[in-house]
């Protein structure tokens, strides 16, 4: 069962990765017992699986994911939300009201109007049905303050880091609250625009250099340097 590339090697679609009894996992496909890459990314494998960590991708909804979306339409009994996925998501009025919804009594635009940014959780989705959102949990709902930035969704795990190491470091160093949507939208809200700028700069750096080693240390260093520079100025 040979493997033709080393771990973390840059791979393009169509590259032959492995041959034999491996399972074709993320961003790969199997044909005639051979495993090929289907996206540009970094090759990796374990005992059973061969996979590619994609460097550029789009968000595909998964049940249980927290996402940040924008209301694009107010319907009769709910909202249509753009979650930067191939499919538009729906959020039901009864979910936001926490009681049965009466179209005569409740004005939906008063709760969320078009353009509102919401943090929500995906509670149902499959190939035949568009994703369904819910905001019935702490921390979900309308975004009131802060700034959002978008990154490629495949880089979200890198932004979070191992057991949250990266995102916690940014929170600590900049003092910002950070909410990471699995769909590649990140909310940064700090006490001052300066803090937010620092956190956003760090996230941009992570996105750009996600496929390199020792990133956490470099980002920490960058933030500290920036902070010092500020005081001197």
């Amino acid at each position: 069962m040979p493997i033709f590339y080393e771990r973390k090697q840059l791979i393009t679609p169509g590259d032959l990765l492995a041959e034999g009894d491996y399972e074709a996992s993320e961003n790969t496909y199997k044909e005639d017992n051979k495993i090929y890459a289907s996206r540009i990314g970094l090759m990796d494998y374990d005992q059973k699986k061969v996979y590619v960590v994609a460097l550029k991708s789009f968000y595909v909804p998964r049940v249980g994911d927290t996402v940040i979306g924008k209301v694009v339409e107010v319907g009769l009994s709910g909202w249509i939300v753009d979650i930067r996925a191939p499919y538009l998501a729906t959020l039901r009025a009864s979910d936001a009201l926490e009681r049965p919804f009466n179209p005569r009594e409740n004005d939906l635009t008063a709760i969320f109007d078009v353009g509102t940014l919401v943090i929500a959780k995906i509670i149902a989705y499959d190939r035949t049905r568009d994703p369904l959102l819910s905001i019935q949990e702490a921390g979900l709902g309308k975004i009131k303050r802060g700034q959002v930035i978008k990154v490629t969704p495949t880089k979200i795990p890198r932004v979070i880091g191992r057991k949250g190491s990266m995102v916690n470091m940014i929170k600590q160093e900049t003092g910002c609250e950070i909410t990471v949507g699995q769909n590649g939208v990140i909310l940064v809200s700090g006490k001052s625009p300066e803090e937010e700028r620092l956190a956003m700069m760090a996230i941009r750096k992570i996105e750009q250099e996600s496929h390199t080693n020792g990133l956490t240390d470099r980002v920490t260093e960058m933030i500290r340097k920036e902070k010092r520079g500020e005081k001197n100025a």
Binding site: P13, G14, S38, P86
Partner: protein, 248 residues
């Protein structure tokens, strides 16, 4: 109008631009050139210059076109009014509609469209300057743009033309060679799958000539495929090298 020179190929077998019969034109490829598209790429092949942009997978508009079992692939090949010597009307011509279709069909087998039912993937190919071989260059550049958009694919599609000019079999024809020659055969090819996804021909070739021309074009595709892979990697390799340099 430029006059066609009488001799397109000299005694030594060299062509007007100095290439030998089996040489490709110089190719420059760049990936991710447009900020607003989900994926994009740019190609310069000799004097031909083409931009491609990809959007999707996204909601289909109008909705009734959506397919229940796979994504809808749409493709628009368009030539800018200034892309040719005499101004071309910007309205889609019969030729452009046809090329849109053949390019779409050349790319379709490379994609896993069944992964994203009820969505559309849109490709826009804009020819900025044309000097022959634009359908092949269009396929090369759109395949890169699709990969840049993160759309899962079996492999990149390469394309290349070969033909017969004044009795000689040649690779990668320019506009003059195409018009003054006897035959032109563009093909699109996926080297790993060993699958031809486009094969057109106009003019006349004998059976033997056809086989030779096909093999020449396939060789051209293999060379182009390498260039495509390098171009796709280039962006990430540059960042990695810059970072590693800073660490040292």
């Amino acid at each position: 109008m430029k006059k066609t020179p009488e001799k397109l190929i000299d005694e030594k077998g060299n062509r007007l631009d100095g290439r030998g019969p089996t040489d490709l034109r110089p190719i420059k490829l760049e990936v991710g050139v447009l900020g607003n598209a989900d994926g994009s790429a740019y190609i310069e092949q000799g004097k031909s210059k083409i931009l491609a942009a990809v959007y999707g997978p996204r909601e289909v508009h109008p909705k009734h076109l959506a397919l229940p079992d796979r994504a809808l692939l749409r493709c628009r090949y368009h030539m800018a009014p200034f892309s040719v010597e005499e101004r071309k009307s910007p309205a889609p011509s019969r030729r452009e509609v046809e090329l849109s279709k053949v390019i779409r069909e050349a790319l379709e087998p490379s994609l896993f469209l069944e992964y994203y039912p009820r969505t559309s993937i849109d490709i826009f190919i804009e020819v900025l300057q044309a000097d022959g071989g634009t359908r092949c260059a269009g396929i090369i550049v759109s395949s890169l743009a699709l990969a840049d958009a993160g759309i899962p694919m079996r492999e990149l599609v390469a394309a290349c033309a070969a033909g017969k000019v004044q009795g000689h079999l040649v690779l990668d024809l320019t506009d003059i060679e195409d018009k003054g020659g006897e035959a032109d055969m563009p093909i699109a090819f996926m080297p790993t799958c060993n699958a031809i996804t486009l094969l057109q021909m106009d003019g006349m070739l004998t059976n033997d000539e056809f086989e030779q021309t096909l093999n020449m074009a396939l060789d051209g595709c293999r060379q182009i495929s390498q260039l495509q892979k390098e171009a796709l990697k280039a962006k990430y390799v540059a960042v990695k090298e810059a970072v590693e340099e800073r660490i040292q």
